[in-house]
């Protein structure tokens, strides 16, 4: 146990002394936060709305189609609960509720009705824009003078307004899990094998498994320490917020780390040199970085790419972290993510241990 601890400590200490590698991971994560913060600091021009149609008439559907046709508006029809969840998670700017009796009111066969608009409790520019657009469409649809349909004054809902920094913090945690997890173990183990450090350790009375596990645990600890540094920077310097429980951040971070350390371990098992490990790690990490929703929501990707990305572990790390930190989701929302990461961990470690070569 003394030997195991000494090996882990030596590896973790070494990684923090390796300034170039540290700058490459931690520094780059901070740089991404700055760049993306500047690029997307303002809210987007797209107005995303959810509509709840309680009337289910030809007239109400036609009304919503007119609204959806407005340039820049994305409108999804949803059930009441789903729509308000979206609003709470800041994935839509507002929810429009079309009342029952809308069609009857429009044809003057029933009492007057009010379309109700629910918005985030913020003073963001999108709220005003959605007010204006919906008011215009409603007035136009109701036929000017006819007072049978009107727009009620907007009501506000308590929502989590996720800023770009709030979105970037879990993204950058996922980024570090990806890069440090894969690289430290893949390149580290391959290099120690080439330079015969592993062999030198094997000439001591330590068990082979102790040597290997110490290197893997060391790699995992490096990732967790880097995440701790990033979180402190993100909260303290960049003003990012976590809307969820810190306790729930831990499972995806730990399981994400084990899954990616497993991929790193697997890479080190199939390559001969550290240069090959570096290349293979880059081939795996760079596409994942852009495919897995850590820089922009995956909805923006083509469907085929989304399907591929959803098989890969980073999407699940990213999803779980965003769910918890941005939407304040509970454990039930991230159970699937966590289980899939467990599966990735088991598969990669099994394959890697099977293929591993000491020299």
């Amino acid at each position: 146990m003394r030997g195991f601890r000494a090996l882990v400590v030596n590896q973790v200490r070494g990684s923090f002394r390796d300034r170039i590698a540290l700058i490459f991971t931690l520094g780059l994560a901070v740089l991404f936060m700055v760049i993306f913060g500047l690029l997307f600091g303002e809210n987007s021009l797209n107005l995303s709305l959810d509509a709840v149609d309680n009337d289910h008439s030809a007239a109400s559907q036609q009304y919503l189609h007119v609204l959806a046709a407005v340039h820049g508006v994305t409108l999804n029809q949803k059930g009441h609960a789903a729509a308000f969840t979206d609003l709470k998670n800041d994935s839509v700017a507002a929810v429009i509720v079309v009342p029952s009796g809308f069609g009857a009111a429009l044809s003057h066969q029933g009492p007057s009705q009010q379309v109700q608009l629910y918005e985030a409790n913020t003073t963001s520019s999108t709220a005003t824009v959605s007010d204006d657009i919906v008011a215009q469409v409603t007035a136009g649809f109701a036929g000017g003078g006819a007072a049978s349909i009107s727009l009620g004054s907007p009501r506000t809902e308590q929502v989590n307004l996720v800023t770009q920094m709030d979105y970037m913090l879990p993204s950058m945690i996922a980024y570090i899990i990806l890069f440090s997890g894969v690289n430290y173990v893949a390149i580290g183990l391959a290099e120690m094998r080439v330079r015969q450090v592993l062999r030198r350790y094997r000439a001591t009375p330590l068990r082979s498994s102790t040597i290997l596990v110490s290197q893997i645990v060391g790699g995992g600890l490096i990732v967790l320490l880097q995440i701790a540094v990033l979180v402190v920077l993100g909260l303290g310097v960049f003003g990012a917020r976590n809307y969820g429980s810190w306790l729930l951040v831990i499972p995806p971070v730990i399981l994400g780390t084990t899954a990616f350390v497993g991929i790193g371990f697997l890479i080190s098992s199939v390559v001969k040199t550290s240069a090959a490990a570096r290349g293979l790690a880059a081939m795996i990490t760079f596409p994942l970085m852009f495919l897995s929703g850590i820089f922009f929501p995956m909805d923006a990707l083509p469907k085929v790419v989304q399907t591929i990305a959803r098989v890969l572990p980073l999407a699940w790390v990213s999803d779980a972290l965003h769910q918890v930190m941005n939407s304040g989701a509970g454990f039930s929302a991230i159970t699937t993510d966590c289980l899939i990461l467990v599966a990735w961990t088991v598969v990669t470690f099994t394959l890697a241990a099977w293929r591993f070569r000491w020299e």
Binding site: L7, Q11, R17, D18, E191, Q196, R200
Partner: protein
Amino acid sequence: MADIEVMGLVKRYGDLTAVDNVSFSVEHGEIFGLLGPNGAGKTTTLEMMEGLRVPDAGAARILGTDVAGNPRAVKERIGVQLQLTAVPDFTTVREAIQLFGSLYEHSRPAGDLLREFDLEEKASTYTDKLSGGQMQRLSIALALVNDPEVVFLDEPTTGLDPQARLNLWVVIEGLRERGKTVVLTTHYMEEAERLCRRVAIIDHGRIVALDTPPRLIAEHAPGTTVELDAVPGLDVAVLEALPGVDHVTADERVSIATRTPEVVLHALLDPRAPWADVASADGEGRHGVRDLIVRQGTLEDVFISLTGGSLRS
């Protein structure tokens, strides 16, 4: 009982038999050398003794324990220096000694080893900043961190400059003075001659000779070689006709093999010999025998006579 007993070790890689039925034993306090060219099987033999490789046949016993049967017990009591000095990155000299010390049940204080191997000034230096000689000293210090009874050194001076090599020889002789049993591999014959009480000469995985260096030389390279510059009038046929000459080879220099060097020298330096007064370019007479060297047989000669090849090839 001998500290080390190696009995019929065999290691095959596919069709190649890297180590072919190697047997020897090493007494307590002895420095034992495995001498041979690169690829002869020296390192593989050492690795089977260190528990780093499992033999295909045969066994090695170290301090009475079967290595393949109980490698961890053996590793606890031996010190190992590998050919490539392998220390993790971003680790200082002191940290490396402490790290390796923590991998054994019993270890010596880092300060003692730093002093002993003259590394105190470099204690806080990262190991990759050390010179070749310092690195080798650290490497041997790491091999001694558990105060082992048996020490294995794999080509300890390869790649070092002559001064650093000489320093390291003094270090290795120090091991003998402290009663350590040492097995080292080398392809430097002068190193084997100076350090080793006994030497096993290995070629193509087999031990071709095993004895003390003086006895190996007496048996396999008994003669003396007389070397001189080739000049006109002293051709191979003339020299071979001289008394006491066994064999003559000539290229830039002439080498005369003999068991009676005094007889050969007497004939060569005879003032009445035709080559005693050779006309030179300036017209003055000079003795034809120039730049004469007399040398004894070496382990290199032993190796050449046993295998027909050179150690450095």
